[in-house]
Subunit: 406 residues, 2 copies
């Protein structure tokens, strides 16, 4: 039996300093530019502690002093911001028809977003690792050429990811037991680079929690649409991963045992109604004639165009998909009671036509009054939310107050 | 937008002492009898700190020294245990046909378990509050007569409970917007007694996490069978409550939209297949002739007797109920990835006949390999798990390292 991670633990002065460093970094992230006195006033830390911590963080180039001063009585205060220049982090995502790499600095500013068409579902895991490594290496070369140090890289996968960054199963990619983190580390040969793997939904939820319209919300679910459908669950401000990291598996939730057949062998799974191949196959039946779709973007654009022309079949089909999305979101709201379920991927792209039906179904199926305060909404982060979350995840070590190795 | 509860916070020496007090209490709870040296060796706290903390905890009668000494080289060490004598806590539960009050001491030893037949579903909220208060007052009188101080009381309700201990909805009781905690505080007139309310499933999960066969498991779900069906979710060692405390609402999960009608107006909800009235109504159709069942225990005993006689209709019915329980448990396992889903209430009473079918369905419907490491099992805590969890909850303040008011 694994003992709890949240049990009381002995605490010492080193922990206190690390925790307080994290407090200072968080305050500056949210309120920059701000002065040492602001930090002390708002965090409850005393001024001498703030001064010592800020000195260290400036020396390690996590914070920098700006030329700005505060307009106030007495000696002008030097204003602080996060230092975006020295460090960067990478996030990547394996989509249904593309790979994405995205870099941010410590302040969350996007430094680059590159996409490369790549059909991971019809490629081998080894080909995918090679393509990811090549794309990451190009990004690292660009960033180091700008004088930045890349702290880490986190990749989002549409499937189950274990604590070692291996993928026991990713049905949408046809993967079983792929040691993705280890293989990618080996392919990159960058021993100082922290390489992690997570589910696409978890990383999208992190991006939503940091950068989305519901940023800072303590209880948040991101329902990620794609070739698979997954849920990233933020509870009490942290990702809910479960015992082995497999939490959020919602794609094969049975909505109706008499529903359409699913690749898993059952009927009526969420993904069989609302996954990207199901939506394209249903709304654009002509695509089936050409074999499996490998390039989804143009098909989604066709669906958008037909919906804008008020094509009745497409509108009815989208409303039906929306019902199923709303049903799944209601299960998440009833079980997890978040403040928002945010839909991403093609659910967000098609939101103008999906959301009205989804919200009606959601309202009817949530049990607590007013859906327990939960809103159902579309992500505003666009189609690289997972990669953005990957970069956010790769910065977590620094944000927790630990200093990057010198 | 509510900001996160788990964000980094400034830490000071008072927090350190409180945290370390909790560490010492936890170590003694798990490893008593143990010496000051044992505590220092196993917790990483230094001996002087342990000595100071233990002195304070002995003085406040949370720990006591036993006559035992450790058999070892050097000066004999005085052994410590939790002091069970001075304090007690109460847990209560509102069942389908009874009220239960249970008391434990700080060490978790049961001091009393009293049941009173009471048909809450056919009583008014005010009658229920009066009956709860009368039962609690009798228990408090008994405990104070033994020289104990009662620190708190926590009541488990089969319904939604908000952060103020009010019950916006409890379908099984016919309640809407009952200010239970406030009403019970007013009825008890014990201003020094902390009175809290939680869902029956949350308290049962706490009991399971502390006292059950899966005690100490960080990721655990308790699926509570009764007139309603709820899930208490322990994630990372703590209850997952969600934004407004409404997490764990699984009773109206649609298993089959073509299934039996439910009191909620939909069809095929979990509770319509597996709730106590549904199980009794289906397996003992003769009970329907006498109007709604108000006394479930004898009916469950009849079902057990028929099952033991291998009554084929009852066995087939129980297997079918088991399938639905397994289906619901698989949804919880796929979304939350706990180490165990433990079923309680009448699911545990009927486990010999429910579990085989439940486990087969669970295995077939969990998506991760080996169900993500999740076991499906029956609670061993009996029919007062919620009340036991209530007493556990009422001790949480002291266990977190805060000292009881002098």
């Amino acid at each position: 039996m694994i003992s709890s991670h949240n049990e009381p633990r002995p605490s010492d002065l080193g922990d206190v300093r690390t925790a307080n460093r994290a407090v200072v970094l968080r305050h500056v992230r949210r309120h920059a530019p701000c002065s040492r006195a602001d930090i002390a006033a708002h965090t409850g830390l005393n001024k001498a502690t703030v001064s010592s911590l800020v000195g260290e963080l400036v020396e390690r180039r996590l914070l920098r002093e700006t030329g700005l001063t505060e307009n106030r009585v007495g000696r002008p205060a030097t204003m602080l911001v996060l230092d975006g220049a020295p460090y960067a982090a990478l996030g990547m995502q394996i989509g249904a028809d593309e790979l994405v790499v995205l870099a941010t600095d410590l302040a969350g500013t996007r430094l680059l977003t590159w996409r490369r068409a790549f059909a991971a579902p019809s490629s081998s895991p080894a080909e995918t690792v090679r393509a990811l490594a090549a794309l990451a290496r190009r990004a690292i070369t660009r960033l180091t050429g700008q004088g930045r140090r890349v702290l880490g890289l986190s990749v989002g996968v549409p499937g189950l990811v274990d604590a070692d960054g291996a993928v026991p199963r990713a049905t949408a990619l046809g993967w079983r037991d792929v040691a993705l983190a280890a293989d990618l580390r080996a392919a990159l040969r960058e021993p100082d680079l922290a390489v992690d793997v997570d589910t696409d939904a978890n990383l999208a939820a992190l991006a939503e929690h940091r950068h989305g319209a519901y940023a800072g919300t303590s209880h948040l679910v991101h329902l990620t649409g794609g070739a698979s459908v997954g849920a990233g669950i933020v509870a009490d401000g942290r990702l809910l991963r479960g015992a082995r990291g497999f939490a959020g598996e919602v794609g094969h939730l049975t909505l109706d045992p008499a529903g359409p057949g699913c690749a898993c062998g059952r009927r009526g799974c969420l993904v069989a109604y609302a996954g990207l191949p199901a939506v394209v196959g249903r709304l654009l039946p002509d695509t089936r004639q050409d074999g499996p779709v490998t390039d989804f973007l143009p098909e989604i654009q066709r669906i958008q165009a037909l919906a804008r022309q008020d094509d009745p079949t497409v509108l009815a089909g989208l409303a039906d998909v929306g019902c199923h999305v709303g049903h799944a979101a209601s299960v998440l709201a009833n079980l997890i009671n978040p403040q928002a379920v945010v839909v991403g991927g093609h659910f967000a792209t098609l939101a103008p036509w999906l959301l009205p039906a989804a919200r009606a179904e959601f309202a009817a199926r949530t049990h607590a009054p007013a859906a327990g305060g939960c809103l159902l909404d579309a992500s505003t982060l666009g189609s690289s939310a997972t990669a953005l979350g990957g970069a956010t995840a790769a910065l977590a070590v620094v944000e927790s107050g630990r200093l990057p190795a010198a």
